[in-house]
Symmetry: C2
Subunit: 515 residues, 2 copies
């Protein structure tokens, strides 16, 4: 009978892949988002908060052509419309860019052009969860919709640098790398893999041509993605006949000739000591491809704009080895990488890596309106950036708990709450112990669990004498850790002060603790 009852009780667990965030985690994230919003705001971006729920149709990518369009998203069907079959399929947003496209298309007649907005909030992915991989996580985006100017892209890079410094990543510990999809297309053209017939700024044509040799172009893209791992020689083998990898397996090559591979390798290795050198190398790599030349010119504009604003290569560099996202974007691509070392789960030192990425995309709004709207933007991976700040020791992992006024006499709760009110009015975080006060040890255990800096004690004796006891819990913990109590004897962790000096004394102790 008891067992049956227990079986009926719901399980108190989060769904798989979801988690709870407590205390300092929540406050640290809120504080970081506030700082990022401050920078985005100063740059002229407007806040936007769209709803977490969109129609599957508006989200795109996941069209309801299957019975349940839940590939990658959390989706459900609205209740039947009376007299009209099934309702809309709705879904949780999987990023902040797809909703932006919907918002811009919906409100474009009222919004200014260019529309510059920032957005921050959770997004949801219906993916297999893993260690450190959750199905709900935060993003923080800024985009300029309706501007074809490279100044919009350069500005995003500058803003990323300012943002990282604002949240506590010092200069020298990060670098923003910039690349350009058009340069890669130029390289593919120089390699004879794609052919660009239209005017080079007409992205439609590239798409068509890419489809023509899609398989080879995709294989080249996949290969350059491996540049970091296999190096120049490895990429040459993979672009050619193939390569025997470390495990002994033979990886088939793309099948390009050595001459065809040359521009690709030249592209990947074109980074030089300064932007001018890199750009010259890229110009050589794209040969006479118009598309490639346009891409190089775009990178040059970005480099010039950033130099004029004082963003040197210590913060932002043209780096053609950045290939992440090149397949998705249509022009400039940027990535913020943290360059300091951390120790990975196997104890090996490694660079922290990417915390933000973005680029130019021109076709998102077109889905809705038929009109091509140039847009560029960035997304900061909030949780990775928070992890980086923790790794740098820039985040408190624990908040300071409240001053706890203990309850020695439950009939004098009003006295204790009065003390609390005085402390709070002085701006001090404080509370009276609200559990069962019978066991005084439990009250101190509670203060300990809350990371309380100070406990206040006023028993009948103290009350009669007009005194209160103030316990410095931080000092007390330090004394408890130290073998010799001798050295602490002049600095007792508990002092007795007149009741009317309580607030001043607590302030003094808190000040001392924070030094």
């Amino acid at each position: 009978m008891a067992k049956q009852k227990k079986a009926q009780r719901p399980k108190a667990v989060t769904p798989k892949g979801f988690r709870d965030y407590f205390g300092a985690e929540v406050e640290g994230r809120a504080e970081m988002l506030r700082k990022i919003a401050g920078v985005y705001h100063r740059y002229g971006f407007e806040a936007l908060e769209s709803s977490a729920v969109e129609t599957v149709e508006a989200l795109g990518k996941f069209l309801p052509d299957v019975d349940r369009p839940n590939e990658g998203v959390f989706a459900w069907q609205e209740a039947d419309v009376p007299g009209g079959g099934g309702g809309d399929w709705l879904a949780l947003r999987y990023d902040l860019t797809a909703p932006l496209a919907r918002v811009y298309a919906q409100h474009r007649n009222e919004l200014p052009t260019p529309y510059r907005r920032y957005a921050m909030g959770p997004v949801w992915r219906n993916e297999k969860p893993g260690p450190g991989r959750f199905r709900q996580f935060y993003q923080c985006d800024a985009d300029t919709v309706g501007s074809a100017s490279m100044a919009a892209d350069a500005e995003i890079c500058a803003m990323l640098a300012d943002t990282l410094e604002e949240v506590g990543i010092p200069r020298g510990d990060y670098v923003i790398r910039v690349n350009n999809r058009k340069v890669l297309n130029g390289v593919l053209e120089a390699a004879g893999v794609i052919k660009s017939s239209g005017p080079p700024h007409d992205i439609q044509d590239i798409t068509i041509e890419l489809h023509y040799n899609e398989k080879i172009a995709d294989a080249v893209l996949r290969t350059i993605d491996k540049f970091d791992k296999v190096g120049e020689a490895g990429v040459r083998e993979l672009l050619g006949k193939g390569r025997l990898d470390a495990s002994g397996a033979y990886i088939d090559g793309v099948g390009l000739s050595a001459e065809q591979a040359d521009p690709v390798v030249a592209f990947l290795t074109s980074k030089d000591a300064d932007a001018a050198g890199t750009l010259a190398n890229l110009r050589a790599a794209v040969g006479d491809s118009k598309m490639g030349a346009e891409g190089v010119a775009e990178l040059e504009q970005i480099a010039d704009l950033l130099a004029a604003q004082g963003y040197g290569p210590d913060r932002i560099v043209i780096d053609p080895s950045v290939v992440r996202g090149l397949g998705y974007y249509t022009g400039p691509v940027y990535e913020a990488e943290l360059t300091f070392e951390i120790t990975d789960e196997k104890g090996r030192p490694r660079q922290f890596g990417s915390v933000a990425g973005g680029g130019r995309y021109d076709d998102l709004v077109k889905r809705f309106t038929g009109q091509e709207v140039p847009a560029t933007g960035v997304s900061i991976g909030v949780d990775r950036l928070l992890a980086a700040l923790h790794a740098k020791g820039r985040m408190q992992s624990e908040t300071t708990g409240p001053v706890v006024v203990t309850v020695m006499d439950r009939d004098r709760m009003a006295d204790y709450q009065k003390m609390v009110a005085e402390l709070r009015n002085a701006g001090i975080r404080a509370e009276a112990y609200l559990g069962n006060p019978k066991n005084f040890g439990n009250q101190l255990k509670y203060a300990d669990k809350r990371q309380s800096p100070v406990a206040i004690i006023e028993g009948a004796d103290e009350k009669a004498k007009g005194l209160v006891q103030i316990k410095d819990l931080v000092l007390g913990a330090r004394i408890a850790e130290t073998a010799s109590v001798e050295e602490w004897k002049d600095r007792p962790s508990q002092v007795e002060v007149p009741r009317d000096q309580m607030v001043a004394k607590v302030q003094e102790i808190l000040k001392g603790q924070s030094q």
Copy 2:
């Protein structure tokens, strides 16, 4: 063909009952939530952010005993578990209290007791949307779990008062009303509607007895809910034989005798000039009901605690006519009401009404663990409070846009971006115009649409002379509105300054505008 293409395009619309929030709306809410969090934090509450998604099982109330448990919630079923039938039903949280119960039950061995947490964020209701009623909205809660002390309830009331003042509702424009469910139960007992046999603090017993005469008790509850509308005489009729309402319809009464109705009416009209008077009236109304006496004693404790902390009846009052939520809670109930008048949609003056409510509930965690855990807490209706602040003129309805550096020569974008960088480094919100610069009028229209305070102009002439033009757009708009330009002639809305004095001049103009 063109038509067919158009038909394939997705509609750029939010799902029914959802909306987008722009600029000042987003920033105003964020700022308000930050202030509320500051007060909650000072009171010793810890932040908690649980995921938006919970299992339907954990959320409770909506158990999966129907094919699709979407009554009131947005729910969906996880993909099939390999080899094990259907997956879990998941749902978006509909409030912040149900997730708190799950979190506390799940983590109770690690969490301090009492567990004091605050939470803020969107919740979702799958309800029919209406004007001003959305299916996603914000809540902001604080709860103390694991404390039976009335000090916990009194503290929530004090905190509510502090919070309202912190966000900009002045003292005198709000009142926190406190009532108690046990007093109502005592009244029902005095009226002979329910009978409390067990010890009065055992809520289980009340529930059993309530079931016994459930129909009558519910009818009495529904009747007292109408006290605000029909007054004492109306309630007497409705508790008795029935009442002819204003529309001419006859409403059947509960069927109590006049003697049975007496305690109920005494309860509803028991508010006196001070707490002592009200409590005396309540003591009379509950007669010899133990449950009622306990409820009155609880209210007395709360009143004493608040008086000791200096929260007088100008802020918090014992008011037995507050009946909202009495059916849900098990002890003290509180409600924050804004008392200033606004004009409703029909032009009639009316009081703004409730913006927050809460109370004591002892059975939420029991669902999971079988153990009764006393808890008390409050939920602020964030959107209603924001609306109230707008009504009081305490919220900016528009943000100040960025200083816009116009683009007179698109080849000198680097110069313009350098100006922008200087302004931003001085802490001024600024941007260069990033749209197509051909039509200068469009640039000023853009600045206007962005509510920009200042526009900067540097054409070839100015550049040659080392000057910039600075347009005070706020002043310009005021001049344009005024019939006589005469009075403005000494204060031109556009000034020319040396390039190196640009930042200082902009600062001066912005300072003048904010005065």
